[in-house]
Symmetry: C2
């Protein structure tokens, strides 16, 4: 079947109808973990997460897809094709704490709407199509670091289920068992049948909004490293220890924080450096702290530049600590290599954008995504839709229905290319 | 009775015996709120505080003093004199979180040892002597700001018992009732019979240790102000928000923290500025914070200079916030005026130091103390003993027994001057 056949069948009314469906589904899913301010906290394996997953299963079944879950609880909605090679599309269902309704979830919803439309209108594909509702991506409950897509690609180490704990000390293995999942069967989630992966996602930044483009064809993801810095000094009384006698770790932290900001600004885009969390002990207003801990998250598309950024940060930490007489302990919270996505999948996305008559641009992703894990085992790329105000990981995350409709249309056409025209 | 009578009766064996008694008592009291590392957390009206107060009562009774408590739970051990004018001596019994065994408590112990010795050896004084075991000074559970000495001087406002809450939301009034104290009777704690106040206390700083002096005759207390700064910016994703688009309140906080340190260092001693507590929200390592809150504690002996320091800090906060597009909310946590102590009480302390043949020096206190409140209603001064390493508000607070013995001897001689020779 020629691409023009899809082009002619998928019209403005389909787009509007599917966008409206997607908008209703987003609001339906927001309830699972949604607070009074609209913010969503849906941590993996929590009751809210379980309720959202049950709702997603129901919706995928209503869309005429065959539904199953894997060993870590990710859900799949399958449209069987002639070949068993799978073109997978979707994103994650968990959220950060006090995040929004769109990050991750909108990707699942767009993929479900697109594959549902193809199932209803285009018949059996050459390659099998599957909606991917990934269990976990955010590391917001456990430092689980792409849990769902690591399960899919066989990258969860045996000891992790007992080692990863949440802030209450519960292991991820125990949390899985509470959801009826068996940690011992994680290896069964490893898939060998993936032919391609396309992940729709909100941009989470201001690029599309500021350029007035509607679709981002994402051809790479930045590398991310996060270090935890703990500085030990000498605690004391805020009045009685003269300034000259102090070894104040929080004053050292302030100097390092400002320095990290300066380094990233001087390096210029796409370098970023962020201190997102900080704590001082003992923490009384009238106590010179004895310990300060903070994280530095830094990112760049070029791994050599990222190495250089890390060297500069470590040197800054050493210099400040030595001058102030502080002891340093460094921990690596995260180290995610960047990725360049598949040229052919990007080309399919671009052709589909052109066919849909939407404004689009190629762009990198500055956030980490499942596609960078799954993209190491099969051709992959991503499709961004705009984030209103450039905001994400906040209760007021929003994407306009019209943009969601454009995203669905581009994905319908892309998946048609990959699953109906390729084989 | 002449001073020489005391001089001859109080010998080296008395000093050694009383120092040993004091050391044993410090260790006995350390158990009430003491943790495995020796650190003491004894918050006002907690079970640990109640146990310590019961123990102090028992010890004061054993010392032959008449014991009572006032409406806020402070304990008094009384040696009745010819006159009802009271020479009060002591300090507070509460601690900071994870503080040590000496701050406050040693002052109560030294006063108890001294007045006990006078009771046993010198008979009825002209003026009445009382040991003061103050319920609360540290503001470590409630922002109660010299609770015990404010009760004593009639400075607790009627609404405070319902307004001041701890971190669990319990009011100080409710915590009082749980200890069998009636908030409504607070006005009865206001004393009109105070003739003088002498507060022994650990120095909490390095001055005595570095100068090798044993006693500090404290002739003034620095003024203290503490402000809470809350900066509101725009939270977002640590990867997707370019550095140039950020309004990061924690980056602003870092700049202000460094600036506050620079201002205090440039101003020189005795100016100090301390950021003791800080928090960022939402607090994820991969989130640009939307809110940062921290405290700035700043002190100086000269109130005009303190005003200037405050102006500089406020101007710094305004400048940084305006440049970064942050909203500021400022709150006053504490504002304590400094005080110049009474010349006659200081002279009595100095004469007693000379008589005891100890090295001593006049010095200011850089920490706030009950004496600055009580000193507004009667002649007062303080007596410092050395803090090992210059440390306080830490588990390893320590004062050598020999120095404690010197402190007791100087106080015995001072109280003799004030209560037996004055009338």
């Amino acid at each position: 079947m020629a691409t023009t056949a899809v082009l002619s069948r998928f019209g403005a009314s389909d787009r509007a109808q599917l966008a409206a469906d997607a908008g209703r589904l987003i609001e339906r899913l927001r309830k699972h973990g949604g607070g009074p301010n609209g913010g969503v906290t849906r941590l993996v394996y929590s009751p809210e997460w379980q309720a959202a997953m049950a709702d997603i299963e129901e919706w995928l079944l209503e869309s005429g897809l065959a539904v199953r879950h894997d060993a870590v609880g990710s859900r799949f909605g399958r449209l069987q094709g002639e070949s068993s090679s799978v073109v997978l599309s979707g994103s994650h269902t968990d959220s950060v704490k006090q995040g929004g309704a769109y990050d991750g979830t909108l990707g699942v919803v767009i993929a479900g709407c697109a594959i549902g439309w193809l199932a209803r209108n285009m018949g059996k594909p050459a390659r099998t199509l599957e909606v991917f509702a990934n269990c976990e991506e955010e590391s917001s409950r456990f430092a689980s670091n792409f849990w769902g897509s690591r399960a899919l690609t066989g990258r969860i180490a045996p000891g992790e289920t007992d080692r990863l704990t949440d802030e209450n000390g519960e292991t991820i293995g125990s949390a899985m068992r509470a959801c009826g999942l068996d940690p011992a069967s994680i290896p069964s989630a490893h898939r060998k049948d993936l032919g391609a992966y396309v992940e729709p996602h909100i941009e989470q930044g201001p690029v599309l909004v500021e350029s007035r483009d509607v679709i981002g064809v994402v051809d790479r993801v930045v590398g991310v490293r996060v270090i935890r810095v703990t500085l030990h000094g000498v605690s004391g009384h805020a009045g009685t220890v003269p300034m000259a006698n102090r070894h104040d770790p929080l004053a050292g932290a302030a100097e390092i924080m400002s320095g990290a900001e300066t380094i990233a600004r001087r390096m210029g885009p796409p370098a970023v450096a962020t201190v997102g969390s900080i704590a001082a002990k003992p923490g009384g207003f009238n106590q010179v702290p004895g310990e300060a801990t903070f994280t530095v998250d830094f990112r760049h598309t070029d791994s050599d530049v990222l190495d250089g950024l890390e060297r500069e940060l470590r040197s800054l930490i050493d210099t400040v600590s030595a001058r102030r007489g502080l002891q340093v302990r460094l921990g690596q919270v995260l180290s995610q290599a960047g990725i360049e996505f598949d040229g052919k999948v990007c080309a399919a996305l671009e052709a589909s954008c052109a066919e849909s008559s939407v404004r689009w641009r190629r762009m990198p992703s500055h956030a980490g995504h499942d596609a960078q894990v799954i993209g190491t085992v099969c051709p992959a790329a991503m499709l961004f839709v705009p984030s209103q105000g450039g905001h994400s990981h906040r209760p007021d995350e929003h994407t306009e229905l019209e943009d969601i409709g454009s995203g669905i249309e581009v994905l319908v056409r892309t998946l048609f290319r990959l699953a109906y025209q390729d084989s």
